[in-house]
């Protein structure tokens, strides 16, 4: 005896009820539960679907599916960050290192010739913060739009929206308390800031423009349903 379509929908509802809101994670659990239910029916064909489901769920332990969601999130974030580092390293090798060096040199000179370096730094940071908020807003809206149109939420889209956890590091707002208008910017401080700022911009650029599209492409191949939702 096989689990029917209606029961499959019940299984999706069951995972949602047990705090699995991500369709990509739900799908794997649903197949596992369905296989387990069918195996029980082979032993005992008269067993009720709900009873068989209850037996299968017990096998996931007292924390149910929460451990799976947490570990899946960690694994995806780790993958994302590894990919970012991999591409970022390319900016410190020839030929891209020339561009990186030019960026540091340019920023250093802008800051050095500013009347008040602290103001220039704040202006620069505020600019990045704007980009950061626009990106975050855009990605969150995309998740909401997909959810509205298809009823599905994808865990990897959340990971992409949060830049694999880099979002906390890239939220430049957390560095605002460091502002001090009386500070004197010597050569070393200006150069250090220029280097950090360029690395920061590269990290943001690589995450948004290189790794996120690559991850979306990879997952579109794995999940045909996600690919379809992109065309809606």
């Amino acid at each position: 005896m096989k689990v029917n379509q209606e029961q499959i929908e019940d299984l999706y509802a069951f995972t949602r009820k047990h705090f699995v809101e991500w369709y990509d994670v739900q799908t794997e659990i649903v197949d596992h539960l369905a296989n387990g239910v069918e195996a029980q029916w082979q032993e005992n064909p008269h067993l009720n679907f709900d009873e068989a489901l209850k037996n299968e769920f017990k096998k996931f332990g007292i924390f149910g599916f929460s451990g799976i969601v947490e570990e899946k999130t960690n694994a995806l974030e780790k993958y994302y960050r590894k990919e970012v580092w991999r591409y970022l390293k390319g900016y410190f090798k020839l030929p891209k290192i020339i561009l990186t060096g030019f960026g540091v040199w340019g920023l250093y000179h802008i800051l050095q010739y500013s009347r008040n370096t602290e103001y220039a730094v704040i202006f620069f940071m505020a600019g990045i913060l704007c980009f950061f908020f626009i990106y975050n807003l855009k990605e969150s809206n995309k998740i909401k739009k997909t959810h509205r149109k298809t009823g599905k939420k994808w865990l990897f889209e959340k990971v992409i929206a949060q830049l694999g956890g880099f979002i906390h590091l890239l939220n430049i707002g957390i560095y605002m308390p460091l502002i001090n208008f009386d500070r004197q910017w010597d050569t070393l401080a200006t150069l250090s800031f220029s280097v950090c700022a360029v690395i920061y911009i590269l990290l943001f650029y690589v995450s948004v423009k290189v790794v996120s599209p690559k991850l979306k492409e990879k997952l579109s191949k794995e999940h045909p349903e996600y690919k379809l939702s992109l065309n809606l």
Partner: protein, 112 residues
């Protein structure tokens, strides 16, 4: 043995070894295969299997393919090139470990 914690550190190796022998496998199939091969002595829990699979996938050792089977979607795992190399390393590590344990548990057996 079914309730033993001894196999926990070897779960990754078990998964890699099974995938080396089969072209592709899905989660439930892995649990059943282990049960069958060990005649029910070893039971991989669902709560341990999926985090391991997801970690191996994130490390680039496994590739994923989602296929519609009957009326539902099934996620298959298969070894990547890197995963195939890692399987050899992991198996060798496990074999060395078993030898060491054997030397500790029954030293006479090793001497003979």
């Amino acid at each position: 043995m079914g309730n033993s914690n001894l196999y926990k550190g070897s779960l990754t190796t078990i998964i890699l070894k099974l995938l080396e022998e089969h072209d592709k496998m899905y989660g439930y199939e892995i649990t059943q295969k282990v049960k069958e091969l060990t005649k029910g002595e070893l039971k991989i829990t669902e709560g341990a299997l999926y985090p391991s699979l997801h970690k191996l996938e994130a490390d680039g050792l496994l590739d994923v393919e989602v296929v519609k089977v009957d009326n539902r979607l099934r996620k298959y795992y298969k070894l990547t090139e890197q995963g195939t190399k890692e399987t050899v390393n992991k198996l060798s590590e496990l074999q060395d470990y078993i030898k060491t344990m054997q030397a500790l548990v029954s030293p006479k057996l090793i001497l003979e």
